[in-house]
Symmetry: C2
Subunit: 358 residues, 2 copies
């Protein structure tokens, strides 16, 4: 069974509304989650709605935040998300960044006191229709060990950048700074398989091929896997994202990032407030005439696309190609939802007395 | 033999002056090259002076550039480097970014028509004394193959970020987005050794263990090595750096980046002007009270440093630790210079009629 985008959005919106989220905010949140489904990233899609609803029900997320710009200059702002839903806070922050960049040429809005926000690319892409480059970064729960560390101290800390082009579709890169996603490790564990070397480590920091190691104090490696293959570079990237998205606004960094699920406790004596994000917007015509940039970006895309493919491959992809193609395909055929996620949705429909439509 | 920083700087300054470079510019350039020696990165140190001098002598680099700000907003500038020495243009651009950030909170200066500029960290670190975060990126000669590409289309495209702290030394990350430096591959080749899998590929894009492959059309892999280990993330990073440091200002991107040595020809019909860079400066007090940021950054550094080391390791490093320690050591003992580099320096002293002091 495949489901229409609008049906899924409407269901998620209804469930969020029933948990006290204002209509506009419910719509914004379901838009971000369903966009992840459409773009072929279900790990950040409706799978997360269950956690969002549980966090709302238990009061761990504030359903009616009063967000506040607590610090600003002509090109910056710091937004206190008042512990609201991540997508609600993040969309507002990116809108602020776009508005400020319209005046100042470029702008950055840093966020504290927020929560899990879904796919970073969503916010970076909000800049595109304004002929701006969008940037977004976010820290995450500490699962990743710095080079030479036994302990997971950093998150998978994604970075997204969206660049508008002229006649070509935009370049949209959205990538974690860890070598593998937790979901993939957990899947191998559930299947009773081993994991190849270079992805995870034992609690003492020695190499591991056991995907169950994350449940017993092990950690994921940074992008680059080992020192020899450049894990210090992945560590540097993750550190940069952590500092810019958490230390800059005053959110929690590194090992202090609060869990994005309600069945894990929040640590006491946290150094900051909630989860942090950073959003940037660059007007392309702040650097050169806008059309000249868009033409050059078309040329860049065409140049990379025309590279000779490696033996055994058909084509060289531009960042964003796979997600855009998934979006087009799902727009035509609908998107399939995993039984586990459907079961969760059915449960919430019953609990909140909404007819289950899937 | 180990040499004093000032002696090396004075020698490099004299040689550059004799090639027509104004005193201030010669001093600026030698400062950047000797800083690389001191920080333990001789691949970007005096080894490059030979290329700089050859490029100056052959007229490939303009010894007396008239740099021009060709586009600007309150938070941005685009600087035409008039084909000057990279370090001269880059220092000026970073000064402009710092000045603009002083007013606007954050600022970015993009550069076209420049040349090889040495270590990216140098420019990012210029922000530190102003209580700003500094950022710097630069594209480079196409040696790196995008994921699924047989051809080298991107450079090792480094990214540097320098973050001030309070009582702790700053965090300074400066890393390439490729899995290995060309210099390391070439060294294995000279030694007649093979290279382990995951670093380079054959001209048809298939895996290679021959470090000589770069001389016959092969390429270096992005950070992440293979698709399975996240090479698409390294490719995304390199693409981001290429777009922001070259497409944004109108410099040459990807395969069109001009060579930084005079014995390789410049391609005809280039899409942009020279090599591109991008410099950013963020006033930390544009986001939160300055002291609060510096205190939080101290906490971040102390937290990462206190992580339990992995089995077989003594400590967890903060980005910038190894370079700062090398700088301190070299400040006490002087720095050793490779025979090959000394031979080049002696040659230039004879040619330019300067007493050889090493």
């Amino acid at each position: 069974m495949r489901y229409d985008e609008h049906l899924l959005k409407s269901l998620a919106t209804s469930l969020l509304s029933r948990c006290g989220v204002p209509d506009q905010d419910a719509l914004a949140t379901s838009g971000v989650l369903v966009a992840a489904e459409m773009r072929g990233i279900p790990s950040h899609g409706l799978l997360r709605l269950n956690d969002y609803l549980r966090m709302l029900c238990s009061g761990r997320i504030n359903s009616r935040p009063r967000m506040k710009l607590v610090h600003e200059t002509v090109s910056t702002g710091t937004l206190d998300g008042d512990n609201g839903l991540g997508p609600v806070v993040a969309r507002h922050a990116m809108e602020l960044a776009i508005g400020k960049a319209g005046e100042a040429g470029t702008a950055w809005v840093a966020v504290l006191n927020s929560n899990h926000f879904g796919i970073a690319a969503y916010y970076a892409m909000m800049a595109l229709e304004h002929r701006m480059i969008g940037l977004c970064m976010c820290n995450a729960n500490p699962l990743v060990a710095p080079t030479f560390s036994a302990e997971g101290m950093l998150g998978t800390n994604p970075l997204a950048v969206a660049v508008p082009a002229g006649s070509e579709p935009p370049m949209v890169a959205d990538f974690a700074t860890a070598v593998i996603a937790r979901g993939k490790v957990d899947l191998l564990h559930k299947q009773g398989l081993t994991i190849e070397p270079g992805f995870v480590q034992e609690p003492d920091g020695s190499p591991s091929e056991d995907p169950g190691v994350l449940g017993r104090g092990g950690a994921i490696l940074p992008l680059g896997s080992t020192r020899q293959y450049g894990s210090h570079k992945g560590y540097c990237m993750a550190a940069m994202v952590d500092v810019l998205s958490a230390v800059l606004p005053g959110a929690n960094f590194g090992p202090f990032v609060p869990p994005s699920v309600d069945w894990l406790p929040v640590k006491a004596d946290l150094p900051g407030k909630g989860t942090g994000h950073l959003f940037g917007a660059f007007r392309v015509d702040a650097f050169r005439p806008g059309q000249a940039f868009l033409d050059a970006m078309d040329h860049w895309i065409q140049t990379m696309r025309s590279a000779t493919p490696a033996k055994g491959h058909d084509r060289v992809l531009i960042p964003g190609d796979p997600e855009r193609e998934a979006e087009r395909r799902h727009g035509q055929t609908g998107v399939s939802i995993k039984p586990q996620v459907k079961e969760q949705l059915r449960h919430w429909c019953e609990k909140l007395k909404i007819g289950y439509p899937l």
